[in-house]
Structures are given as structure tokens and as C-alpha cells.
């Protein structure tokens, strides 16, 4: 994680000049198929997996106890009836957005730099979306009836309440998870075929061969592939914006103090972009040296991601300012009381932590030298992820703790089961991501080959 500010000409290249389509394919295949120098699984991967599995185990115990004992094991109560469950859901779904922004939005903008990053970013999206999807189910009083959210003909004659944003949310998560898997898999198809043809071991030939479904790189397959991928990207870009807008409307649709605001949909989209870019940088910085990706993910990529992180942090700052403005310009005294509680009440450190980690620290990225200092950028990104979690906490908890009626005021203290569930979700994220790292190509080889063109 040393600074590469002095890398000179390397700062501005997307792929090192010595790299060719052949060397790229060899390197990525050797890493994924565990051949040659990359034939052994590195120690950091085993240590990471062990750590991830221990967290995941903690989460499994927590969920098992939750299913046995019910929601009473959590700290939620009236008036703070939403706690870590919704907080973690909103946090994870926002983290998931980074991959979609990079792989879909920047594909449409013909940004060549995204080619080196899109597979890694999409893999992060999948893992984070998976973590997000479990929380709405866990927070149901009777999780075994989660399918009641699905509009299906039933003997009870009941339907979901389609005028509620919470039902929109169900459709949004379902669509986002499903479409992210489809988009990721469709982009992966040619690379799976490459791995199938390159694999030496029988199980790998069968494994990648079945997943590749017989993709052989024929002219016919490529001719249809490109327009379909383009349309999928054009669909994914508005989808990710809609998903986070709907998450914002989960809150804006309620008459709770601090939530009932028209700016919530863009507010949540800004937050999603900020945490999404942060997780991509957080993963990319250590993985570059660990997986030998420096020739393909260069300081220029880090510089661009740093700029994007800074831009989304400024958008976030605008949203925070508008939050203050609409509260004090608006007519509702309950809003002002709640906001004063946020600023200097019980949870004030959480509010100010949010501001410092999401807005103040990212301002360091105005300087190019800092954007290229990987240690500092990594710490800023870690801070942003913590800051986004704190932001969700203050939005959810401080609003619910200070409702319109002073007689209904309360507070919220999470229990050990909620903390262990948070740890478990981090374990689930790390486990799935580490497995993808080891068994799937982390660079989009086919797209990279097209970008490298006639280099030989």
C-alpha cells in the first residue's frame, strides 16, 4: 500500500504497455485455475476465509437463536421498532450499488477504465446484495411467512398492500438481486468458456464447462452478445437508481419526524454511490498486489475512483445541508426538536461521526497526491463505510426515538444478538467474496482482450 504518486507515466495508463491479450488471459486463468506460480492458494486467502467463516458462524448462531426465541432478543421496542435489521439492510444495499454504477453506468458512458474494474465491482455487488436481502426477512415477526410479501393467489384472499413503499421495496430487492445475478453471469459467460478451454484438471473442465453452457466464441454468439449486454447495462443503470430511491421512500413514506422529506430518494442514491465506490476501492487496493493485478488496475484507476468518491461525498454534503435547511425552514416544531436531539442529544456522537467520516475526511481527496496514496485512500474508504453505517443509525434511531409525542419518546440499545448478526453479515459477505475471488476470474478477460485490441 505504498504511495505511487511518483509513478510518473504509469499514472495515466489503463493497462501496462507490456501486457497483451495473451498475457492477460494467461495471468488471470493461472490465478483462477491455480496453475503455475499461482497454483497454490495464498496464505492470506486461507486466513481471510477462516476469519470470514468465524464471523459467519457467529451470524448463524444469532439467526438460529432469533428463529427460536423471536424478535424479543433484539433491543428494538416501542417507539424504536426498527433497529439493526433495517439499518444493516439499508447499509448493505447501498454498498451493493458500487458495482452496478461502475459496470452499467460507466459502460453506457463508454468509460474505458471501467473494463478493469467491472468484474470485481460486480462481484462485490452480488455479495453485498445477498447480505442485504436477508435482513428484511429476519426482521419479520414470523420470518417463515416471508413469502406472503409475494403477490400470489391464496386461499386467504389477501394481497400485498401495493400503496406501501415497503411492498415496493420487496419488488426492488427482488429485481435488484435477480438482475444483478443475470448481468454478472451474462458478462462472465465468455470468461467461463475461456477457463473451460484452458483448464487442465477434469473437475475444472466440467465445472467451468457446465457454467459456460457451450459458449464457443462463434461469430453468431458474439453478434448477439454485444447488443444484449448493452441493453442490459442500459436497464441496470436506472434500476440501481430506482432501488435506492425506493429505499429512500421506505422512510419518506412515513410521517415520522425527520423522514417525511421529498429529498430522501436522491439522498439515498448519493449515499449508495458513496458507499459503493468506497467498497470497490477498499477491495481493490489490497487485491492489486495480492493477486498481481497492478498491470491491469493502475494508479489511474485509483485516481478516477478517488475522484468519484470525492464527488459522491460532495453530493452527500449537499443532502446533509438540505436536511438541516428543510428542518429549520419547515413549519414542524417536532422536526426541529428531533434534529436538536441529533445534534446534541444521546446519539450526537453518531451524527457528528457521520459528518466527519463521510464529508470531512473525503475532502483529502482533492489532492492528487493523496488520491494516489493507497494507505490514506484505504483509510478514508474504511471511514466512509463506517460513516455510512452511522448515518443509517442516526436516520433510523434518532427519528424514531423522538417522535411527535414527547410521551412516546424512547431510546434504543442494541443487544449482543444484533451485533453478532451484523458480524455474521460481514462474515457472509467476506466468505462469498473470497470464494468468488478464488474460483471466478476477477478481470473481465473478454472485454479486456477487446480493449487491448491488436497488442501482441
Amino acid at each position: 500500500m505504498k504511495a505511487e504518486a511518483g509513478a510518473g507515466v504509469e499514472d495515466d495508463i489503463l493497462v501496462f504497455p507490456a501486457e497483451t491479450p495473451h498475457s492477460l488471459t494467461e495471468h488471470i486463468c493461472a490465478t483462477t485455475l491455480h496453475e503455475g506460480e499461482a497454483g497454490w492458494t495464498p496464505l492470506w486467502w486461507w486466513l481471510g476465509l477462516g476469519f470470514a467463516l468465524s464471523l459467519l458462524g457467529m451470524g448463524i448462531i444469532s439467526v438460529a437463536w432469533l428463529f427460536y426465541a423471536g424478535l424479543g432478543i433484539w433491543g428494538i421496542d416501542w417507539p424504536v421498532a426498527w433497529g439493526f435489521d433495517i439499518l444493516n439492510y439499508v447499509w448493505w444495499i447501498a454498498i451493493a450499488s458500487g458495482g452496478t454504477f461502475i459496470s452499467a453506468l460507466f459502460f453506457l458512458l463508454r468509460a474505458r477504465w471501467r473494463t478493469s474494474l467491472n468484474r470485481l465491482a460486480e462481484s462485490l455487488t452480488l455479495c453485498a446484495a445477498l447480505c442485504a436481502a436477508i435482513f428484511p426477512i429476519l426482521h419479520l415477526g414470523r420470518p417463515r411467512f416471508f413469502y406472503w410479501l409475494f403477490p400470489y393467489p391464496n386461499t386467504m384472499g389477501l394481497w400485498a398492500q401495493f400503496r406501501s413503499p415497503l411492498v415496493w421495496d420487496f419488488f426492488a430487492i427482488l429485481a435488484y438481486v435477480l438482475c444483478s445475478i443475470v448481468f454478472w453471469y451474462f458478462g462472465l459467460l465468455p470468461d467461463l468458456a475461456t477457463l473451460r478451454d484452458r483448464a487442465q484438471r477434469r473437475w475444472q473442465q466440467v465445472f467451468y464447462g457446465v457454467l459456460a453452457l457451450g459458449f464457443r466464441g462463434s461469430g453468431r454468439q458474439w453478434r448477439h452478445y454485444q447488443p444484449v449486454y448493452g441493453v442490459m447495462a442500459a436497464l441496470m443503470a436506472p434500476l440501481v437508481v430506482s432501488v435506492h430511491s425506493i429505499v429512500g421512500m421506505d422512510f419518506a413514506g412515513g410521517a415520522t419526524t425527520g423522514w417525511h422529506s421529498t429529498q430522501f430518494p436522491p439522498f439515498f442514491v448519493f449515499g449508495a454511490a458513496l458507499s459503493g465506490f468506497a467498497i470497490v476501492l477498499l477491495a481493490v487496493i489490497p487485491l492489486r498486489p495480492a493477486m498481481g493485478l497492478q498491470p491491469y488496475i493502475t494508479p489511474r484507476h485509483l485516481n478516477i475512483l478517488g475522484c468519484l468518491l470525492l464527488t459522491s461525498s460532495l453530493c452527500m454534503a449537499y443532502a446533509y445541508v438540505m436536511d438541516v435547511f428543510s428542518t429549520y425552514y419547515g413549519p414542524d416544531p417536532a422536526d426541529r426538536i428531533m434534529f436538536a436531539f441529533r445534534l446534541h442529544g444521546l446519539y450526537a456522537p453518531i451524527y457528528w461521526g457521520t459528518i466527519v467520516l463521510n464529508i470531512v475526511f473525503p475532502q483529502l481527496l482533492w489532492w492528487r497526491a493523496i488520491r494516489l496514496n493507497q494507505l490514506v485512500v484505504w483509510l478514508v474508504c474504511l471511514g466512509v463505510l463506517v460513516g455510512m453505517w452511522l448515518e443509517r443509525f442516526q436516520i433510523i434511531v434518532s427519528s424514531l426515538a423522538r417522535t411527535q409525542l414527547p410521551s412516546a419518546w424512547g431510546q434504543y440499545t442494541p443487544t449482543v444478538w444484533e451485533w453478532s448478526l451484523l458480524c455474521g453479515s460481514i462474515g457472509l459477505f467476506l466468505t462469498t467474496f473470497l470464494l468468488l475471488l478464488r474460483f471466478m476470474p476477477m478481470l473481465a478477460m473478454a472485454e479486456m482482450r477487446t480493449m487491448l485490441g491488436n497488442r501482441s
Binding site: P151, P165, L178, R223, H224
Partner: protein, 162 residues
């Protein structure tokens, strides 16, 4: 069928073009990346449009039916037919329908999954997705086809009997 491997993409496409033009052969080219300048026309985006429309109309219709006919509820005096509230779920279902139509339509159009194809018997096919350039000629006079392929610098030529 005849399977020929070439050293370069240019040689492959020149040979394929000549075979199609002069010998009226059915030629399919194989490569690890889309050929540069390839015409990328496809019917699948139209299928995706259909899937998207089906998702949107189906989703909207389902909500109208549920809230006005099957299970009308008076909540805060809001009308049973609250069409603006139906938009988010309809949009999500539209995108989901289009994406599913895209991947299913693509597989149907290019006839996947096809885990085995007779062309797999050719050794040259195993190098396609790692950077090979291969032409598969499915008909025509074998001698003339081989001459054309050789003239364009084919590295290997194999005859596969399906």
C-alpha cells in the same frame, strides 16, 4: 465439416469472406473476442422490449386488479385506484422481465446450452477462447475449400465427420 486455425484475425476473416463470396459456403468464425467492426444486429433487444412491456403491463394490471376488484381497502380515504403508487413495482417488474427475456432470448437465439457440438472434436477449437482464430466450413467442395484455407495461411486444417 472442415475446421481451420489461423494465426491472425485478419487472415481468418479474409478466408471466411472469400469462402462465403466465391464458394457460397456456410462459414462460421470463432474467436476469443468479438471481431472488430462486426455488425451487431440482434433480435434479442426486441425480445427484451417485449419482456419489459409484459412485466410493466402485467405488474400494473395485477395491482389494479388487487386493489380495485379482489381486495379493495380504504386507507386514509385514498382512492382504490391509486395509479401513481403502482409505478415503482411496475418499473421493477418491467426491468426484471426485460433482463430475464434478454438472457433467455439470447440462449434461445444462439441455441445454448449446447455442452457438446461436433466441432469440439477439432483440436483447434480448444484454443479458441484463449486467443485462437478458427473457421468452420460446413459445406462446399472439400478440395476447393482446403485450397482457399491454405492460400490464406491456415495453420492447421482438420476434417471432422459429424
Amino acid at each position: 465439416m472442415i475446421v481451420a486455425a489461423f494465426a491472425t484475425e485478419n487472415a481468418l476473416h479474409e478466408a471466411a469472406a472469400e469462402l462465403r463470396r466465391d464458394r457460397a459456403c456456410r462459414v462460421e468464425t470463432y474467436g476469443a473476442a468479438p471481431p472488430p467492426g462486426m455488425v451487431t444486429s440482434s433480435i434479442v433487444p426486441l425480445l427484451m422490449l417485449g419482456g419489459g412491456m409484459a412485466g410493466a403491463v402485467g405488474g400494473f394490471g395485477m395491482q389494479v386488479y388487487a386493489t380495485t376488484l379482489s381486495y379493495p381497502q380504504d386507507i386514509g380515504g385514498r382512492p382504490a385506484f391509486s395509479w401513481p403508487a403502482y409505478i415503482p413495482a411496475s418499473f421493477e417488474l418491467a426491468v426484471m422481465g426485460a433482463m430475464l427475456a434478454g438472457i433467455i432470448g439470447y440462449f434461445m437465439t444462439v441455441r445454448l446450452p449446447r455442452l457438446y457440438d461436433p466441432v469440439d472434436e477439432a483440436g483447434a477449437m480448444h484454443a479458441v477462447m484463449t486467443g485462437g482464430h478458427v473457421a468452420v466450413v460446413r459445406d462446399g467442395d472439400i478440395g476447393e475449400v482446403m485450397n482457399t484455407l491454405t492460400r490464406h495461411g491456415a495453420l492447421t486444417i482438420e476434417e471432422i465427420r459429424p
